[in-house]
Symmetry: none
Subunit: 411 residues, 2 copies
């Protein structure tokens, strides 16, 4: 086979009426492109059986692979199974395993299975079931014409989990893929244009494509190397890029490893030391705690709504910032039993938080067993942006502390 | 003409490789749906001339209107004009007016016009030019088969401005439009299939379309009424649907009002009473606080990592659940100064939180000035799902409390 042609099909009235944006198609396209497949088209259709049947037949004639999302739920507007049955003349059959799984799902929740969910156990004859431990709707795959169709639910979390678990390994086996190699340098606390400026100083070998993915405080630099690019030259290029960026780089990874985020990099350091972390959140507003939840190193978090509440909670005055905060107030937080205590000390009014023109100076103060460390930054953007940035920079002071400990970073 | 069928076509490699998400298609769909047009499909293709020519011919046979975005720039990968010329046998002609405009644009910027921009003054024979005062690429419109094609640039700002200036007035003249009306019932704590079952009990008038949008604990029921549906019958239908679902409905809205989420519904009740809320989070892991941050009614939040830490923090024993928790422990939390205190009391190990097969029984205990209220639920899913569900159900006990206060809900 030549380079196989892939398509993405998305189903749902909420797409063609514009109620939601089709982020699934973009996500799947990135994955498929990364694997070395050419995505030729995205199509979205609403909840009309004839439209869907026509479209499936068209795709069966022109593509080698089609990933479909949506339309697998229990309700009357979920038409994918029926459309595939009609389009390809495959009568529906009841899948006993699936029925048992759906029943078990409801039993675990202590509820009787609604009758409508029985529909989700019907599959077109001759199709392979793709189990969905993350929800009730299983996916399925079938061959029609030249095209392999794979259908998964439209809920992004379920779709992504099923892609990783079932679809990607299958595609690697089924198509002989010669993917380009993508190396991603993850950075924190440095803007996209500064990254571009620093990287302009190094010459990339011909054929290597430079890209960026902005993510607020965590920005990614992408180096796309052509298939069969020499390994030593690849490593050298990556090293030169990382050196040009400097200590803002917190992880370097290929596409296969998945992306390591800052929280997991820092969490690993805490976990290997069997240490725990207590946080006092202001600007991050609970978002930091939500990244710590479930982790063995999470001690506890307190979230206060404004600086007045912060000063009250910590028993301090605005004039204590930063000196008494560092010498006394934050270190005392460790008395609650955590090895590390981190406080976000900032002066702000809650009703200005969502004002994008309002910037806030924030001191990240980290009390560790061997001393206190501080990093002061200015944060802007709307409330969501402020939460995300303050969360990332909280993890960043910990990252820099552990770098220092390991001697890799000179103060 | 029957109800005209519209399609959206988006062009660009950056779409089919997933580098960007097609927000233009969603925006245009909302506009067209609002005008009373049915959008049947979205299609995105990359920068390949044959693909685009094929697609234009397909659309000319099945749609009455197609709005295309992208592919009008000056570079080699901008193919829309050429594709339209080939698809419909309309040779390219130089438009002198357009050339003069593009030259004037560069003169204003104090630069000479690059040679490549001359390409942008070519249009397929017999097409109407749509001026673009917001950029260099003009749009154009032409009739082919049954379909009127309108092409505009992919830059969102230019696309939107050109839609308002040229396309919308033209559509209103050209098609006799009568918009449908969408009513959305927002619900919490009830699954999609249970919603379907409850709504199966009522008969919807002919022509009214029922739809669902799943969002975890917050699920939406959509009722789409045809144009000119009688107002009293519409209100009656919405009321019967809301009654069939019951007290899980927390908001009823049209498409224009935007969607009200549960946090804002509850927040408004707290705000009008000038009351404040303190929360102790377990399963929601900080996510509840992040929805309270910035709000005038947010007092503070504590996030604990597991039930051992919860019992320690609250000074209680597992055997105190639920009775002593209700009579003594949670009410005491109000002593910190908040009018309302809400605690999520659950027995769980942190390392099982991300296990989708692990469900957790959780008591939402609300201490209010006039008494204590409890709602007990079982929550499943991975850690993210558990956080989202616990957050929604925390707001839900407050919502039910305020409903009771206002006498709209009988216990």
């Amino acid at each position: 086979m030549e380079r196989p042609i892939a398509e993405i099909l998305s189903q749902g009235d909420e797409l063609v009426t514009g109620e939601i944006t089709d982020t699934n198609a973009a996500w799947l396209s990135r994955e498929l492109t990364g694997l070395g497949l050419d995505v030729a088209r995205h199509t979205a259709v609403g909840d009309r059986l004839e439209d869907l049947v026509d479209l499936l037949r068209e795709i069966a004639e022109r593509a080698d692979l089609c990933i479909g999302t949506g339309g697998l739920g229990p309700t009357c507007d979920d038409l994918t199974v029926e459309a595939a049955a009609q389009a390809f003349g495959r009568p529906l059959e009841l899948d006993q395993d699936t029925l048992a799984r759906i029943q078990a799902y409801f039993t675990r929740l202590g509820r009787a299975m609604p009758v409508t969910n029985k529909k989700q156990a019907l599959l077109p004859q001759g199709s392979e079931r793709l189990d969905n431990p993350w929800g009730t709707a299983p996916g399925f795959a079938l061959q029609a014409g030249r095209c392999r169709f794979v259908f998964v639910p439209g809920v992004p979390g379920e779709m992504k989990a099923m892609f990783s678990r079932w679809i990607e390994p299958d595609l690697r086996r089924r198509f002989r893929l010669a993917p380009a190699r993508l190396v991603v340098l993850s950075t924190v606390g440095i803007g996209e244009s500064s990254l571009q400026e620093r990287l302009d100083r190094i010459a990339l070998p011909p054929g290597v494509k430079l890209g960026f993915r902005a993510g607020g405080p965590e920005n990614r630099v992408k180096l796309l190397f052509p298939a069969n690019f020499p390994e030593t030259e690849l490593n050298d290029t990556v090293k030169r890029a990382a050196d040009a960026i400097g200590d803002a780089v917190f992880a370097i990874g290929g596409i296969d490893e998945g992306e390591r985020d800052l929280a997991s990099v820092v969490g690993r350091e805490l976990a290997v030391r069997r240490s725990t972390l207590h946080v006092v959140e202001t600007l991050s507003g609970g978002k930091l705690a939500s990244r710590c939840a479930g982790e063995p190193w999470f001690h506890s978090a307190v979230v206060v709504p404004d600086s007045a509440a912060l000063y009250r909670y910590l028993g301090m005055h605005p004039t204590d910032v930063p000196s008494r905060a560092e010498t006394e107030v934050v270190p005392r937080l460790r008395e609650q039993g955590a090895d590390y205590a981190l406080a976000q000390i900032a002066h702000f009014e809650r009703d200005r938080l969502n004002d994008e023109t309002e910037t806030v100076e924030i001191h990240f103060v980290l009390a560790a067993p061997d001393g206190v460390w501080r990093q002061t930054r200015t944060i802007g953007g709307d409330i969501k942006r402020k939460q995300i940035t303050a969360t990332a920079l909280s993890f960043d002071i910990l990252r820099r502390y552990f770098l220092r400990l390991s001697g890799l970073w000179a103060c």
